[in-house]
């Protein structure tokens, strides 16, 4: 019988400083990547066409990638083949003049337009503003709830820092991998807030509200929490891979960002949060 047990970590071996160092270093690194990106490119992340304006068409054609590029007068940003459907390509443009683009594609020999999407720069700008607003409201609401649930500063702020780091790390990784921010990714970031808080609440609840020693409670919470997160990572990884093969960008984006964010959450919850709680339990309470 295959069976895995969540390994019991002997936290007593490590000091608070040692434990916190890694997640904080990763967070600082992520912030540095995003900050550097901001300085160099003028934006914290690379915006996709949802946020800058642009067009995307899906075509079926036997033409080669070079021939596809040559078909259009408008500069082609990328041509992406779809794994599971031969001769099917997603082509993106910076121009949002979708009518011209569709006309060029339809006029070309042996090219059929299957779908198109476009966002004008005005809508892109609006989307950018709304996405920031949405994230801010969601994050603020979550922080408020965290304080309402636990009513003490350290455990609550631990949840907030961890959720913040869970969002920032995938954003930094996206920059490094060259993934552009899309609406789907914004949705994934919001979901990440929800997922991230699950395991933190579980941990805080076990440590603060249950009888039993700190390490025993932590281990119980970890056993459940790690199982939860690993299950979610499995579901999202499968979604990311299959959706990429099928060329369903939206699902692929959501899947990938959640895999990154949930992995970050494992580190943040069981290194950063646990440490903050231990400090609070053994030293903070007595102050």
């Amino acid at each position: 019988m295959v069976e895995y047990e969540v390994p019991e970590v002997d936290y007593t071996q490590y000091t608070n400083r040692q434990l916190v160092a890694i997640p904080l270093a990763v967070l600082v690194l992520a912030l540095a990547v995003i900050g550097g990106w901001w300085v160099v490119t003028g934006a914290p992340v690379t915006y996709g066409i949802d946020f800058t304006g642009g067009s995307e068409i899906t075509v079926e054609t036997t033409l080669s990638q070079e021939e596809i590029r040559a078909t259009f007068d408008e500069p082609v940003s990328s041509v992406q083949g779809i794994e599971q459907a031969e001769n099917r390509y997603i082509i993106t443009f910076e121009s949002s003049d979708i009518d011209d683009i569709r006309d060029s594609a339809e006029a070309a020999d042996g090219m059929t337009v299957l779908g198109s999407g476009s966002t004008s720069p005005i809508f892109g700008e609006e989307n950018r503003r709304l996405a920031v607003l949405g994230l801010a409201v969601a994050f603020g609401g979550m922080s408020l709830l965290a304080f309402v649930f636990f009513r003490t500063f350290v455990p609550s702020i631990a949840i907030v820092i961890s959720a913040f780091s869970d969002i920032v790390i995938p954003l930094a990784v996206m920059n490094v991998l060259g993934i552009k921010l899309s609406l789907g990714i914004v949705a994934a970031l919001l979901m990440l807030i929800g997922y991230s808080v699950d395991s933190d609440i579980l941990l805080n609840n076990h440590v603060l509200r249950r009888s039993g020693g700190f390490y025993e409670s932590t281990y119980r919470a970890m056993r459940t929490g790690v199982t939860m997160t690993v299950t979610s990572i499995a579901a999202m990884a499968v979604m990311a891979v299959t959706a990429t093969l099928f060329g369903i960008d939206l699902m692929a984006d959501i899947g990938l960002v959640l895999v990154l964010g949930l992995s970050a959450d494992l580190m943040n919850t069981y290194m950063l949060n646990v440490t903050l709680l231990r400090w609070y339990k053994y030293e903070g309470v007595n102050r």
């Binding site: 899906t58 709304l130 969601a138 979550m142 949705a187 299950t231 979604m239």
Partner: protein
Amino acid sequence: MSALRENWRIALLVVLLLVSAVALFVPGTPPGATPDEGAAAEGQLTNLQFGIQLSGGTRIRAPVVGMTAEGVAVGFQDESDVTEAVAADLGVDPIDVRASNETQTVEVFARNVTESEFRAALEAEGYQPETIRDGVTDETRSQVVDSVQRRITESALSGGSVQEVAVPGGQTFISITAPDRDRGELVSILEERGVVRVYAVYPVENGSHVREQVLDQDEFAGIGTARESDSGPGVPVTVEESAAEEFATTMATNGFDSQTVCNPNNYNHSNPSSLNGNERCIVATLNGEPVFVAPVTQGLGESFANGDFVNDPTFVMSTSSMEEAREVELSLKSGRLPAPLDFENDDSLSLDPALAEGFQQNSLITGILAVIAVSIVVYVRYGRIEVAAPMVVTALSEVFLLLGFVSFVQYPLNLSHLAGFIAVIGTGVDDLIIIGDEILQQGEVRTGRVFESRFRKAFWVIGAAAATTIVAMSPLVALPLGDLSGFAIITIVGVLLGVLVTRPAYGDILRNLVLDED
């Protein structure tokens, strides 16, 4: 009976699953669905509605072209004078200017007018606008919505919908969804301003011809269906009673009192004198372009003269092709768009039905694979089929309830919603794991009481987590960020169904399992 009372949560789940099955599979169940839609329709298994991403079609969201001058003291009597004068100043068609006493605004619906030109034109007429802003008034916008709505109904677009969408603190735009048209077709239907005017063109004393407008859009009472008759294709139209008499008199006094001569080939709309000597034509224009130039028949001419027309104010606008006839019909029926839509600044999505239906299948496969992945992890973790299986089944029943719900409210599913379903499986299983661990991993459960207390502890965490997810998702419901509001709605409904129905039921299932063991 006591078994039922103890397991009422399971009973509730079963009942709701049955209700969902009815909503999903029984034809005609969802309110508002006709019996031949959904599950009853050919090749369709369920009552689920699919949006354009999963069944094909076009969605366009575009702002309305226009600029509004606010705080303009337009007098009640002056509306039409201001309109004409400003239009003349700016060199635009008078239909592209609108002055309103009620809202104290003047709007101009043309792309190439700048703010300073507009201000200058108003100041030349002695008005001092307080502000000039981009965009149009609420009245204009809601008229555009009505007019687009009528237009897509008239053009036989099945299931098309029109909505006004306001971005908080930003612009307002019109969102149009047409499930069975590609972008080109939809744009051409919408771009047509559809302004119809009828002119009489006749010779005057000095031998030249004049063009006099005799009817405008509002003066038609009824529009027939484009049809092919003995005299060629045409659209029968009925003139408003109040306008019929003046129309007939004008026609009769200008020589249209019997059959007239008119060679459409001679007619040049910008120079009516291109007609020969005694030619008299009746001309209908659509958006300023003549679509119908014809003589008046004997019968029609006589009816103008003897007053019969007033009693039966109907004539046929004959056109050169059926296509043109249909276009005239559509424009007359849908009325003109008060202001054009700004397709240069739109946001659009268009999918071929084949591609979209491919997405249906592929996302189903994606979902199934995700469920299998989850099942494997859960099974490997617990190593007990009797713990893992109910978890997976419960999570799936949550998805089934959610499908029943969207089917019942006839919510059109798009890709983002399916991503929401997968997210729901994720959070659902997470919560079941919390319940499972709380009850199974803390030592033996001897009595129902112990069970209840553990279950309640687990539920506190689940409730808190659910509340957070709902809070995190709610901004997306309110903000018009593409399809993401649908994703958020699905996630929130899924979380609620989970917390209220499926997760408590899973608790009952587990209790039966663990208490039976003793």
